[in-house]
Subunit: 326 residues, 2 copies
């Protein structure tokens, strides 16, 4: 057993896909893989997720030429996590509710060192140590994936709250009469400013005749997906940009609420929607002053994409593993 491992495996388990990376101590990504998130409900919560991690881990270990006992492993999970790494509640990963995925993996591999942490907390650690938030004392990380995750730094430290559950920005209700959320509430922020929100707004826009080019291209309104809109928006399609601007309005709405509460001076955006950051962020930035208390009187704050991009969560999970397990 290597006591000071030189390689960490980081996993980012999202509502849609699982991303794995192998990193060295400098944070360089040596290998990566992604697979769809398993959807099965197992008798033992978290088994399907653990299976997926297991398979990816085996491939990664071959690639980096290490044994399981030679590396440390960090797993970022989308939900409220106890300080001991148990999934207390994951709206977008219901099969893992209650799971102690670290225990499942340790039971399978003797000598495995693994830590489970909230995905956005992983992302924030990664951005604070090696990304866009270096040297920032009061910032939030917001991951716009299938849902929305979040993490809070105040006065220089990650703030995890009384139980370790802080930063679940996606389930702040911004519209009490809004659409039902898998979490049981209605009008949660992540019904709007997320991949799922983009998908819904895309369907609505297509059905309302607002995306004629894409509907024609995809052969029907029902076939147009969020990814089509982001790709078309990046290619300059006005009809697609309009839908991304709708998402940006909701992004600003939620960020304004958070700034009114937390008074950060910096926002790092991660998650899949980062690919359309060049359209999303300038629009949200423009709307910001009208979306935060005393907006005109307070200093503006910067909104920047995660420097680690879509890998922010997986990379951060690896860094958390280095930090806590070696």
């Amino acid at each position: 057993v290597t006591t000071s491992p030189d390689i960490a495996l980081g996993f980012d388990v999202g509502g849609t896909k699982v991303l794995a990376v192998a990193i060295d101590r400098a944070g360089s990504v040596l290998y990566e893989e992604r697979v769809p998130t398993p959807r099965e409900y197992e008798p033992v919560p978290g088994e399907a997720t653990a299976d997926a991690i297991d398979a990816m881990m085996a491939k990664a270990l071959v690639e980096v030429q290490r044994d399981v006992a030679d590396v440390v492993v960090g797993v970022g999970l989308p939900g409220i996590m106890s300080r001991e790494g148990r999934v207390v509640f994951a709206a977008n990963l219901p099969a893992a509710n209650g799971a102690q995925i670290g225990d499942i993996l340790r039971a399978r591999h003797e000598g495995l060192r693994v830590v489970c942490e909230n995905d956005a907390d992983c992302g924030a650690v990664g951005e604070h140590e090696l990304g866009a938030a270096q040297g920032r004392d009061n910032f939030i990380m917001v991951t716009l994936g299938t849902g929305i995750g979040g993490a809070i730094y105040l006065d220089g430290e990650l703030r995890r709250g009384a139980n370790g559950f802080a930063g679940e920005f996606g389930h702040v209700v911004v519209n009490v009469n809004g659409p039902r959320c898998p979490c049981g509430q209605s009008g949660c922020w992540e019904r709007y400013a997320s991949g799922a929100g983009l998908a819904r707004m895309t369907h609505e826009a297509a059905a309302a005749g607002l995306l004629p080019e894409l509907v024609k291209h995809r052969g029907g309104a029902a076939n147009v997906r969020g990814e089509d809109v982001t790709a078309a928006a990046l290619a300059g399609s006005n009809e697609a940009v309009a839908v991304v601007h709708d998402v940006a309005w909701w992004l600003a709405r939620g960020l304004g609420n958070l700034a009114t509460i937390l008074d950060f001076d910096y926002v790092v955006i991660g998650g899949g929607l980062v690919e359309v950051a060049s359209i999303l962020i300038p629009r949200a930035q423009e709307l910001m002053p009208s979306m935060v208390l005393g907006g005109a009187a307070r200093p503006p704050f910067a909104i920047v994409p995660a420097r680690n991009g879509e890998r922010a969560g997986a990379l951060g999970a690896g860094l958390v593993a280095f930090e806590r397990l070696s």
Copy 2:
């Protein structure tokens, strides 16, 4: 000049009234007075507010038999305050926007030691040092007055944010299609779970024929005020309790959002609505699990009235003055 003053004057400037207290170092209230908040718009922002404080200060000094240079003075103000004590933006005290009330008072009284601070931050310091939140590391203070103020303790410290503006819970938008707020946004939490919210719900309930006893008693729907509802509710009137329960629903809605973000384990409620705490709080507590992410899975948190009651802000302002000026 006494270098270690034994008496502090604390002021709590609200949207409706100004409360002044004189306290000793143990926090005992030696004297108190309240006057309506001046409504005038002055050429110099904050002059009218400073005049009111001035007049109350003169009376208090006579009562406690001290000269102005012998005491320290703390002023709690309802709005976002710079770390230097300037009112950056106060939705419920527009006449004071931009004011440095400390400077105005110091210019009038040689030797005056005065500090201005956000009202809810004052209240939280008071409750943490001498009230309901003693020994609590992760709690919020929520003041339900004309508007809603707030303060955040995480990991044992008051968290003021990058600029000192943190904790403006009242202007978190919970209903994007809700009523217009003086702050410029729509559907802010304080349009609902505040004195102003109670007043609006009272008018709506009276107009809709839901408060027949009170309407009869007051001689018309237009005459029924929020205070009539709280008094009648405390006296056991079912029609009045129903309106307070509506306010409690919104209180729970906002607290659920805040818990989802901050993961505190304790809430201290201050402000005028504290008088109806015996009805408001149990109802909000009952609704809480459905209003916070993973409510059934997470440990419940206590909601308690400020031990310093309606005086929490003024007492806290006095304690802040002792803490920072002596």
